[in-house]
């Protein structure tokens, strides 16, 4: 008798679970940034956007400054997001050293009119994270902001309870006021093994149905990319972007509402190619296939990329096989052409090995599809910000095939 009752209960549970499974939202197409990826309107003035005060600057001179100093000995993993008022909000982590218990996630706003950074504020510290998540947290890392379909800001960040970064999980918070205040953190569940070893580094993409696609990666037994489909503060699906132990920190660039490419930081063995691995999807991220590497050196360091509204792509990367002492900005016409270095941002090649500094973790965004903001870690001491306005980028496009650019290529290859 008890067996029959148990089977009846199982039947009811299975029916309820089936109904729940049917309620799972269907996969969606991508929502390309800046409306559609289309050629620029010929009457549009590059860089001339609401709240943009940089258009008057001379072509060929990108504007650079530093994110505000927090007094911390070590800073790293900066990221950016455009605010509704035209300003830019930056996030980064700061503490005595990477992985220390006193590391906090910090934010500051860049006023696009005055061209000044506001005072840094602490978004969350370790104790705040563990209280919100109701579990022990040993350290914080990698903050990545996103814009939700309803206009709110969402911040993804890494937390570790035990061990190194391989023990990471992703948590998230939501802000109703453009990042001034944040909700309690919530945990994303992404792995079947105690939910460890998932990290985030690169910007999310939007789906047409309003959900987010977040490129994440695993960094323990396997080192591979994973594409998370996010609804609110929960993962509702995930798809593998690569396999094995050689690809982390995917950056996703959309080509259409169905196709996209993911570019990785390589973590391959000593005998393998030190280039940028690539995966591609033609079904809006439901399945990914490995593609030939980009023929650009990668020393096991993060790359950052962004697509402008005319399809032109920008990449900030350390295009060397070892070390992180050189950082360059590269450009691609977005139609399968070559990547060309257009600006050497940092280069310590002439210095002896022990004096070379680290320029790493670049993060690129475009606020309007024709400009680009870049932040990166400057020797773990500061975060540098560089703004490439529309006019500068237009000039760079024109110069792509000129002898100046060619000599630049020869200089950095």
């Amino acid at each position: 008798m008890s067996r029959i009752v148990a089977f009846c209960f199982l039947f009811i549970a299975a029916v309820v679970a089936d109904v729940r499974m049917d309620a799972q939202p269907a996969w969606s197409t991508f929502k390309p940034p800046f409306g559609a990826i289309a050629p620029l309107d010929s009457e549009e003035i590059p860089g001339a956007v609401k709240g943009d005060s940089f258009k008057s600057h001379a072509v060929g001179v990108p504007q650079d400054d530093w994110l505000p100093d927090t007094g911390a000995l070590s800073v790293h993993a900066s990221s950016l997001i455009a605010l509704n008022d035209g300003n830019i909000r930056a996030f980064w982590f700061a503490g005595t050293r990477e992985g220390a218990a006193d590391v906090v996630i910090v934010s500051a706003v860049f006023d696009s009119k005055s061209r000044l950074w506001g005072a840094p504020t602490t978004v969350i510290d370790r104790v705040g994270a563990e209280r919100g998540l109701s579990r022990y947290i040993a350290k914080l890392g990698n903050p990545v902001p996103a814009r939700m379909a309803d206009g709110r800001l969402q911040l993804f960040f890494v937390t570790v309870s035990m061990g190194g970064w391989a023990g990471s999980s992703i948590s998230t918070m939501i802000s109703d006021d453009e990042g001034v205040t944040w909700s309690k953190p919530e945990r994303l569940i992404t792995s079947p093994l105690m939910n460890i070893s998932t990290l985030v580094k690169s910007p999310s993409v939007q789906f047409a149905d309003g959900r987010l696609g977040l490129p994440a990666y695993h960094e323990w037994i396997g080192r591979f990319g994973e594409f998370l489909r996010i609804e609110g503060s929960q993962v509702i699906d995930l798809r593998r972007m690569s396999a094995g132990r050689g690809t982390i920190q995917p950056v996703v660039l959309l080509q259409s509402n169905e196709s996209a490419s993911a570019y990785f930081r390589q973590t391959r063995g000593a005998q393998q190619l030190k280039q940028i691995p690539v995966s591609q999807t033609t079904d809006a991220g439901q399945s990914w296939q490995s593609a030939p590497d980009l023929d650009i050196a990668n020393p096991n360091s993060a790359v950052s990329m962004v697509t402008l509204n005319d399809g032109v792509q920008l990449m900030a990367a350390n295009n060397i096989e070892t070390g992180r002492y050189r950082l360059v900005l590269m450009m691609n016409d977005g139609h399968g052409g070559r990547w060309h270095p257009i600006q050497i941002l940092e280069d310590d090649e002439s210095l002896p090995n022990d004096q070379r500094r680290e320029f790493s973790y670049p993060y690129l965004i475009s606020t309007n599809g024709s400009d680009a903001h870049l932040v990166y870690t400057w020797n773990r001491k500061r975060i540098r910000h560089i703004y490439f306005d529309g006019a500068w980028i237009e000039q760079a496009k024109i110069q792509l095939t000129t002898p100046v650019t060619k000599s630049l290529e020869q200089g950095v290859q």
Partner: protein, 206 residues
């Protein structure tokens, strides 16, 4: 919703920790405590794990354990609770073999071997759901009814999103279930070997 999720998860973890501690105490004293003592111990230890104890700890003890282990699956939790609190039929060795075999197939692929990710099936796969129901029916028919209840409760918990995860696997399966199954099998094998060795004396020639 959020605090309810976190509090229920902490309560679950507190009870699980107290059950494990009680199991260790029983092993230490080499005896099975009476039911009333077991329940009293679980209530006392459970409260000690759930409420912040102060000192240098900002969180309850259960939150420190949860930080390391994550949330246990519903199947692991209920098997653990029922094994110590109840006096039901023990878990058959066949089920433990099944768990270990499943882990050998599941974890390598779920942790990055190849492009097939069985963990992703937990979000949308009707075949996975059907397979889970079939497993429950097989063990129910074989006479172990407890697992039918436990799997049914796990499916219910997934349907109402009892935990933070929306992946069915997280309600059914976790590494602790595998460690327990593997440990039990090794223990059973060693016990059998010892028994066989001892019985060998009776029939030794000469």
């Amino acid at each position: 919703m959020m605090s309810y999720l976190q509090n229920s998860a902490l309560i679950e973890m507190s009870i699980s920790c107290s059950v494990v501690l009680m199991y260790c105490l029983q092993q230490l004293f080499r005896s099975t405590f009476p039911m009333i003592l077991r329940i009293a111990l679980i209530v006392i230890l459970g409260n000690a794990f759930f409420w912040p104890l102060g000192f240098a700890m900002a969180l309850p003890l259960a939150a420190y354990v949860r930080g390391v282990t994550g949330d246990l699956s519903i199947v692991t939790t209920l098997l653990l609770w029922s094994s110590v609190i109840g006096s039901a039929k023990p878990c058959p060795n066949g089920f433990k073999v099944f768990i270990v075999a499943l882990a050998l197939l599941f974890y390598p692929f779920a942790l990055g071997l190849g492009m097939i990710d069985p963990y992703a099936w937990g979000y949308h796969s009707f075949i996975l759901l059907l397979g889970v129901v079939c497993v429950a029916i097989v063990w129910g028919v074989a006479g172990w009814v407890r697992i039918v209840w436990i799997i049914a409760l796990a499916l219910m918990a997934w349907s109402v999103q009892w935990h933070e995860s929306r992946n069915l696997w997280d309600y059914l399966f976790d590494p602790f279930l595998v460690f327990w199954a593997l440990g039990s099998l090794i223990q059973a094998w060693r016990y059998k070997r010892r028994e066989k060795a001892q019985s060998g004396y009776l029939f030794r020639a000469g």
